[in-house]
């Protein structure tokens, strides 16, 4: 052919693009990645998202630079004449190195994700017997049961006389254990800024952990289609100082004292009513 070393050109272009883009991704986009740094688990997810994005950047750039280059360099300039290209049917060393590089990347990502997940559970629902329990900070541990139903979340505090509230406040610098369950259909408890998501299954106790930092306002949304008013199943929660939390929960216990007496005793799951099922 024309003697141009196309391969070296592509590699150089790719290196240039990668050297420019990867730091931009890590230092400019990275801090803006979800779900923010409100809790220990949320910060962990930001780190994880940054690592994934930084790993993906050279891969995406590789494909894009390659595509751009071949479309520029190998485009047919005289389409009126149908000419064939060189009959190259493969290249075993390219295939070999491709396999090595992609396998390494994939194993790295899977290994990294596993280690990160097993460290503190990453705020995800882990079922009734959680494997990854974060270390309890100086503030101690608080158990909050999230009871989902069509179409709201209620919060029950077994450590405070089993009082059930329809708002949620959490103390700062505390390990919070969410026991998520549902009374009817599948919901998903998604506290965005906390970095927590756990499906609420009827008859299942789904445990998720979060370690709060300082004061924070967080949005709670249902992340699993749960019927007609799914779109309206949202609310706001607050992480407040330990003193304010103590005052708040004491106030709630007084406020809901009559209702608490009517509630069934605290349990991991509830089966109040069969689903409009007769007989």
């Amino acid at each position: 052919m024309d003697g141009t070393n196309h391969f070296r050109r592509v590699v150089l272009l790719w290196l240039l693009a990668t050297v420019i883009m990867t730091p931009i991704v890590i230092f400019v986009f990275g801090p803006g990645l979800p779900p923010g740094n409100g809790t220990v688990e949320a910060s962990g997810q930001v780190t994880d998202n940054t690592v994934l994005l930084a790993t993906a950047t050279p891969v995406a750039l590789g494909v894009l630079v390659y595509l751009g280059y071949v479309l520029w360099a190998f485009r047919e300039r005289t389409p009126e004449v149908v000419l064939d290209g060189p009959p190259i049917r493969g290249n075993s060393s390219v295939q070999f190195w491709w396999l090595i590089v992609t396998t390494t990347l994939v194993l790295f990502l899977a290994g990294y994700g596993t280690i990160r997940m097993l460290a503190d559970g990453s705020g995800g629902g882990q079922g009734p017997n959680p494997l990854a329990v974060p270390a309890t900070p100086a503030g101690g541990k608080l158990v909050v049961q999230v009871v989902a139903q069509q179409w709201q979340f209620n919060y029950r505090f077994p450590g405070y006389g089993g009082v059930e509230t329809n708002q949620v406040e959490l103390p700062a610098n505390t390990l919070v254990q969410f026991n998520v369950t549902s009374l009817d259909v599948i919901h998903s408890f998604w506290a965005y800024q906390l970095g927590v998501k756990a499906d609420a299954n009827p008859g299942v106790n789904n445990v998720a952990y979060v370690t709060t930092k300082g004061p924070l306002t967080f949005q709670v949304r249902c992340a699993e289609l749960c019927g007609v008013w799914h779109g309206y199943m949202f609310g706001t929660g607050y992480v407040v100082s330990r003193a304010r939390f103590a005052a708040w929960i004491a106030q709630q216990r007084v406020k809901f004292a009559p209702a608490t007496k009517q509630l069934p005793p605290y349990s991991k799951t509830y089966f109040p009513q069969a689903l409009r099922r007769a007989g």
């Binding site: 290209g85 049917r89 259909v185 499906d199 299954n201 008859g203 799914h230």
Partner: protein, 634 residues
């Protein structure tokens, strides 16, 4: 003469054609069957039985039986009972009973055993429901123009979401294989037909019956579950959920049989010399997809049968607190559902790898690697399904395994990318419309694949699961992948299938508007998901309205781009028809050696293959002139 004689019975003409076994009879018998089933179901109700939907005054047994007998009536009216009945009564077999060249348009409304007719039936049927489902998407985006409810009520909105998802998923499982594999696989492997011609027709008409059933959901209150149909929400839903069950069960049956048909055809009916390593890569795509269909779709049917019996005869497979489990449905659904997304993706990969050699004028780079990639994807797709349930609390200890298996799928997918990219290297790239769509596929699928890594990583998935991020991810792989491959295939093979070319200028407008509008629609959805917008909500945080308006307006441009395509079809078909030459792309695979239009029996002599379909740049191998359909070109 063709190999199989067409019986020379006198055929009715004019309006008399309407009397007999055809679509009209099928529709009439289908409606009759519906009322019969509905009436019988009504008789079943006892005073002691109350149904979930009793409050709505609807009886699920009646509705289910109505659908069942309606489908049976429709199929009998089309003539599917004739052959088995005749055989049982001792008549000789008559394979070609409906194959005829002289029937004109009428044959498309009947049970046809000609694979080319079935392929065109698929093309129009799938196009029709693709259009309907696309309109649903426009309506969804209209509602999301404002953060509060303003056009549709919440129930209507969810029904639209569910219909869009179900119809797209159900229709497009056959979207590439239905028209293109039915048409091309027999040609490419040198067979005159599919292994089971009548089953081919059956899978098509079954799919159409299913689509109509899904549309009837609007008469019964719609369904609130989305396309995933999770339980026990489904058990609680209005009678419209019965339509969802009926639709997906028929789609499942259609897929299973279609896959079975393809596996048998490709395995047993290859002509001499068509070895496994000479098989066109599109046929490999069809074969791996067919295996997935055969193995995965029965799971769906089983899951839906249990859902149906929960709703009708009061079993409790999915009712927690009554001995059932909501997890059971999720598991069964995704054991089907994850292979399903590769059922959507693999044929597209086959098409892209089939077309890129033609327009790079080079042999397919790394043929064996591409085949290994397809087999690897098909195999691994059965071991990843619980990544849909990472935060559900089920089998939490197995999450590292599912994380690994999910990320491993990017290896065989990488093979497909490598082969596509390797084929472009040093080629003589011709940017025709099909090639543009193939390049669009590579670009879109790249983002689909990279965003998939975020979903497969548990810590990252805690944020992205159930959000618009996931929605953007699978639209990049399915719409950016499957639909772009779909249009590549249409622009590439329509000249062969129909004998006319689509206008190239309009086609280029279609491509560029679609490519830009598609990316402009779905790229912002990644951002919305990252910001915390959940899927399937009718209301959202007003702070997100700006991006949502952008997305909706871009979505309308997708709609306009599709109208350009429709206009192109009408223009090129009816207004300015340009007859296509036999081989407009100078391709070297066998379907282009055949005359246009194709004779009914494709080959007068079965071809013998001595090379693969990609001898670009190589000394032209000498193939005996196997196709000499004398006197058969129109």
């Amino acid at each position: 003469m063709s190999a199989i004689a067409v019986p020379a019975t006198a055929r009715p003409t004019g309006w008399r054609k309407l009397i007999g076994f055809n679509m009209l009879t099928g529709i009439l018998l289908g409606i009759g069957g519906w009322f019969l089933g509905y009436w019988i179901g009504g008789r079943f109700t006892g005073v002691n039985i109350a149904y979930y939907s009793k409050t709505a005054g609807q009886n699920d047994i009646s509705i289910m039986l109505g659908y069942l007998l309606g489908v049976v009536g429709f199929l009998v009216g089309l003539g599917f009972a004739n052959y088995p009945l005749k055989r049982m009564l001792g008549h000789p077999p008559s394979l070609a009973e409906q194959e005829s060249e002289g029937e004109g348009l009428y044959k498309y409304f009947t049970l046809s055993t000609d694979h080319k007719v079935v392929a065109k039936q698929y093309m129009v049927g799938i196009g029709l429901f693709f259009f309907v489902a696309g309109l649903n998407a426009m309506l969804i985006r209209t509602e999301l123009l404002q953060p509060n409810v303003h056009v549709f009520g919440a129930n209507q909105y969810l029904t639209l979401v569910g219909m869009h998802g179900s119809m797209m998923m159900g229709t497009m499982t056959s979207g590439l294989l239905g028209p293109f594999a039915t048409f091309l696989v027999p040609l490419m492997i040198g067979s005159r037909r599919m292994a089971f011609s009548r089953v081919s027709a059956f899978t098509f008409w079954l799919l159409m019956a299913g689509e109509v059933i899904l549309l009837t959901t609007i008469f019964f209150g719609g369904f609130q579950t989305g396309w995933t149909g999770y339980q026990p929400l489904g058990a609680q839903g209005t009678a419209g959920y019965d339509a969802y069950i009926g639709f997906f069960a028929l789609v499942g049956l259609s897929m299973t049989l279609f896959g079975f048909n393809l596996v048998v055809t490709i395995t047993t009916m290859r002509s001499p010399g068509m070895t496994w390593t000479r098989l066109p890569i599109f046929v490999w795509g069809a074969l791996t997809t067919a295996w997935l269909m055969v193995l995965a779709a029965p799971m769906l049917i089983a899951a839906l049968l249990m859902a149906a019996s929960d709703r009708t005869v009061q079993t409790a497979f999915y009712i927690p607190g009554q001995g059932g489990s909501a997890y059971l449905f999720q598991n069964l659904f995704w054991v089907f559902g994850h292979p399903e997304v590769y059922i959507l993706a693999l044929p597209g990969m086959g098409i892209v790898l089939e077309l890129i050699p033609v327009f790079s004028r080079k042999p397919l780079w790394g043929y064996r690697l591409a085949v290994a990639g397809m087999l690897g994807i098909a195999f691994l797709s059965f071991f990843v399904w619980q990544h849909h349930l990472f935060v559900s609390g089920i089998n939490a200890d197995l999450r590292p395994f599912y994380m690994l298996s999910t990320e491993l799928i990017s290896l065989p997918t990488g093979f497909i990318f490598l082969c596509a990219m390797g084929t472009l290297w040093r080629g003589r790239i011709r940017l025709t419309v099909p090639m543009l769509f193939c390049l669009g596929w590579i670009f879109n699928f790249l983002w689909g694949g990279i965003s998939g890594v975020f979903n497969s990583d548990v810590p990252s998935d805690v944020t992205t699961h159930g959000s618009f991020f996931v929605m953007a991810h699978f639209h990049y792989t399915i719409m950016g992948g499957l639909i772009f491959a779909f249009f590549a295939a249409i622009y590439y093979w329509v000249p062969k299938m129909y004998g006319w070319k689509l206008n190239e200028r309009l086609a280029k407008i279609h491509f560029w508007t679609l490519f830009i509008a598609f990316n402009s629609t779905f790229a912002p959805l990644f951002a919305l998901g990252f910001m915390g917008m959940p899927r399937r909500v009718v209301t959202y945080n007003p702070a997100w309205q700006g991006l949502n308006i952008w997305v909706s307006v871009s979505a309308y441009f997708i709609g306009l781009s599709m109208l350009v395509f429709l206009f192109n079809v009408v223009w090129s078909l009816a207004i300015k028809r340009e007859p296509a030459p036999a081989n407009p792309w100078h391709a070297k695979s066998i379907e282009w050696e055949l005359p246009t239009p194709l004779p009914v029996h494709d080959f007068d002599r079965i071809p013998v293959f001595d090379h693969d379909p990609y001898p670009y740049g190589e000394p032209a191998p000498t193939r005996a002139p196997v196709i000499a359909p004398a006197g058969r070109t129109a």
